[in-house]
Amino acid sequence: MKNPLEKTILFLKVKNKDKEAYGRFYDLYATRIYRFIFFKINSVADAQDLTSEVFLKLWQYLKEDKEIKNLNAFTYMVARNTVIDFFRSKARKEDSVEEVEESDLAKATADNRADPLAQQIVNSDLNQVLKGLENLKDEYKEVIILKYLDELSIGEIAEVLNKSRGAVRVLLHRAAKALKETVNA
């Protein structure tokens, strides 16, 4: 959806609890939210479950007529909170979760090797970036995904992360630097 006006109308419709519009909103956001969650928890199955949960929660918020200034940012915020809740509930099994995370991500990478396109980039810069991203701390990883993959504005990121714009700029700068160091290491 390239037309900003079209997007604005869609968001208005969603805020007015238009189910058909919410279906299109899902089409637009499911992939991003999934990716956002996947990078945080590194598990396909859990990322799928949590993504579904996010969209259901968001609909509940809309139905409850909660004030939503920026639907784009709000959606990421719901996703972020959902992931936090997920980690809290899994806190006691922290070690095993980490093991699963690693194995799932490794599997995803291995799966890509079967894909011809993926094969080409296995040893490419892209692969290096992916690995670098994996090794970043969560805070940096999150801000980089929001900024460069999901293309959120500084203001939106600030809203999602519940930080000031300045703090987001600083965080983004540090995250980019850390990634560059990791990739070039």
Partner: protein, 334 residues
């Protein structure tokens, strides 16, 4: 790697599954689930209503074409079995029972479908026997007297009606072109059966309680009269065929049948008959015209139609026998 390349590569990550790209199939199924989840939940009543529709749609959609012929066959079989079962039940029913009308209806159908005429008249006689049987059972039933009297009267009336039809049909076919042999056989059966039926009816009447006897007397008498008349008509056919040389009837048989009939006529004579006494109770019965008629008709048959028979009988026998026969005949007309 420069910052520019780094950002470019980061953006490309979107297209990799490892970069967090979800599977298309999951995206679609997840959306479907989501859309169903956000639909307003129907109430239980609506769900229950829909349930029936869903089942119907499922069956008609999936098995519709298969089920239609199967359903038709099932219904046909059900109707056939239902009919057979009902008529079966009705067979044992008595007047006043729920299925009795089915029984009589089934009899009418049988009569309408039975050919040729000699078979038809025999069937009609069989139904008379049925009515007599029913009357016997009704008389034996331990129910209230008013109902019993009413049912017995009705059955007796029906016997009168049916046995008259037997007579009419018999007369009709004796005038038509039915082969003599068949007709003689039928007439023989009717002769025998009317004697038995009359006897059974008379015996049954005797077993009824006194007050019921009073109630049913007229109808019973009428029934007995009609049975006797039909029997006499059957005998007339036998004699007629004997005269025209039907080899199926021996001299002795004719004589025996005539004698039996005479004996029966004697029996239903009111002054001598216990049966008639039973029928009329304590009342003194005047010798009615109809009873006279039976007697006279019987005599006429025996004296006119069986002239040849009697002559033959007289020829072969001694004169004393002739005198004996004449005495019997005379005693009847007294």
């Amino acid at each position: 790697m420069h910052s520019k390349d780094l950002i470019k590569n980061l953006k490309q990550l979107k297209n990799l599954e490892a970069g967090g790209r979800p599977q298309e199939s999951w995206l679609a199924s997840s959306k479907e689930i989501l859309m169903s989840q956000i639909q307003p939940q129907p109430t239980k009543e609506i769900l229950a209503d829909r349930q029936a529709i869903y089942y119907w749609q499922y069956f008609s959609g999936r098995f519709g074409l298969l089920l239609k012929p199967a359903l038709a066959v099932f219904l046909m079989v059900a109707v056939m079995f239902g009919y057979a079962a009902t008529v079966g039940l009705a067979d044992d029913s008595l007047p006043g029972d729920m299925f009795y009308s089915v029984k009589t209806a089934s009899e009418r159908v049988q009569l309408a479908l039975t050919f040729p005429e000699d078979k038809n008249v025999q069937l009609q006689m069989d139904f008379v026997n049925r009515r007599v049987d029913e009357l016997q059972k009704l008389a034996a039933q331990d129910n209230n007297k008013v109902a019993k009297a009413r049912k017995v009267s009705e059955t007796a009336k029906q016997i009168s009606k049916d046995v008259k039809i037997v007579k009419e049909k018999l007369n009709k076919i004796s005038a038509a072109s039915v082969p003599k042999t068949d007709l003689t056989e039928v007439a023989k059966n009717i002769d025998t059966q009317t004697l038995q039926a009359g006897q059974t009816l008379a015996d049954t009447a005797a077993t009824l309680p006194t007050d019921v006897q009073g109630e049913v007397a007229d109808d019973m008498r009428e029934a007995l009269k009609n049975i006797e008349e039909t029997g006499t008509a059957a005998l007339a056919v036998i004699v007629k065929n004997y005269e025209s040389g039907d080899s199926k009837i021996s001299d002795n048989e004719v004589t025996a049948r005539v004698a039996d009939r005479l004996k029966n006529l004697e029996k239903i004579q009111p002054s001598k008959s216990t049966t008639t006494e039973a029928l009329t109770g304590d009342q003194a019965i005047p010798e009615t015209q109809s009873q006279d008629k039976i007697k006279i008709q019987g005599f006429i048959i025996l004296t006119t139609s069986t002239n040849t028979l009697l002559n033959g009988y007289l020829k072969t026998d001694s004169t004393s026998s002739t005198a004996q026969t004449s005495e019997t005949t005379n005693s009847l007309v007294k």
